[in-house]
Symmetry: C2
Subunit: 268 residues, 2 copies
């Protein structure tokens, strides 16, 4: 969450450049890629933490704690309450953050002025798709089956995973804006023609995708290794982390890019 500051989180350690300068730098694809590379670590750490607990379907079941939290699921409750705190600290006024919950409270801090650029105005939000895939497919892929009664711990990990996935996927807006600025006429033509397949092809860099998957596999192996416990088993199956990237993170990031470019060009 960088809402109290005034620019997206980055891998760089110290920065005194004023916001306007930084705002241009963000759009350099190499700089965006550094953020995405650092977010890989955050995502893999979060998935490893979740994978230590069972699937715990209870967490996702509406009405499981009926009287106490009004028929919502435990994760609904924890996500809303967490996002409410973050909203009060104006997390979701920032151009790289989208909430999962509706009807969040207003910020208690005065608004920051973000530059009025297409990134700040665009609010493509794929969180419903991210959450659906996470609950129905990613948790069963990564976690041992069954119920270990660790509902609180597991749901806290879910919030961390969902927030990290959402940030990574919505960073597609920065990627798309950067690609657009490199070839505005080409993208105007593709969007104008309404050819989704051609637009998708134009934003796809197969070599970069292959490198991402390779790097993620290496990281998942390094971070997931079990060192010291009796079982000697890895904390996570690296191949399944790669699958999370190939089946959901990369395609949803590209979907963000497509939607972003359509809205961006419709607004011109």
């Amino acid at each position: 969450m960088k809402s109290i500051g005034n620019r997206p989180a980055r891998a760089k350690k110290t920065q005194t450049a004023p916001a306007a300068v930084e705002s241009n730098r963000q759009l350099l694809l190499s700089s965006i890629r550094d953020v995405l590379i650092r977010l890989e670590d955050t995502i893999i750490f979060a998935l490893i933490e979740r994978a230590q607990f069972s699937r715990n379907a209870f967490i996702y079941r509406r009405g499981a704690l009926e009287q106490a939290i009004g028929g919502r699921s435990l994760l609904d409750y924890l996500l809303f309450e967490t996002e409410a705190i973050h909203a009060r600290l104006r997390r979701y006024t920032s151009p790289d953050e989208e909430p999962f919950s509706d009807n969040l409270p207003a910020p208690i801090l005065p608004p920051l002025s973000f530059p009025e650029n297409p990134l700040a105005l665009n609010r493509v939000n794929l969180n419903p798709a991210i959450r659906a895939a996470y609950e129905a497919e990613i948790v069963p892929l990564l976690c041992p089956p069954g119920d270990d009664a660790q509902y609180g711990s597991s749901a806290l990990c879910d919030v961390a995973c969902l927030q990290a996935l959402s940030k990574r996927i919505h960073y597609g807006r920065f990627v798309a804006e950067s690609k657009y600025r490199e070839a505005p006429e080409q993208f105007a033509r593709l969007v104008g023609a309404g050819d989704t397949a051609a637009l998708l092809a134009a934003i796809t860099d197969a070599a970069v995708e292959a490198r991402v998957l390779e790097r993620v596999e290496g990281k998942a192996r390094a971070y997931g290794v079990e060192t010291g416990s009796a079982s000697g088993k890895a904390k996570i199956d690296a191949g399944r982390v790669v699958e999370v990237y190939s089946r959901w993170i990369i395609p949803l990031t590209k979907e963000v890019q497509v939607q972003y470019l359509r809205e961006r060009l419709a607004a011109i």
Copy 2:
């Protein structure tokens, strides 16, 4: 947070043993050590995440956001609000969880019945010391100096670090209870004599401590390695993570053990 379940978080993947059986198993030192080993990963991941941001002294300054959060520091606010959610989900009714904040709300879920054993009744709480060391020494040790305006992100990492450190250190209660059960007369004598140095010597296992530090160094190296960014710099200095263990985690865990044994034996 395992407050919705009924036993402390463990590294084991699936468990169907009833709570009573589990409650005895917890007291086996080898089982406790498995938990502590898995918590190393959680702590190192959390420290690595915090270390990507600058020190950001703003977060810890009371009154920095004066009107909005009533003169508290940003971390005071975020810790309290986070712990309030967890308290409503009865996190702090669990024998291995202590809050940092006072005046937390009551649980909205009905109470769980924990076995009335010394672990459930003892509430040694070193969180004030943990938080003071964290803000004044651990953050400056691990984070680059200065201010990068990433206050929200940094403070969220602080909450994760503090909760992980607190859980690890208060697990000393389980360690102490287990040691006590192996030699109740010896500990009764040591506590009765009021000789802190001798008590500390009796709970100290230098060989185990050396293995912990060695393992933590290896993990910090493996998880902190930078893979793919332009800088090629590690995400964290493994030696400094070892220092967090040797200067704070291990001594504070032993302090929990000493305080626990004193209270436990006074209660007999």
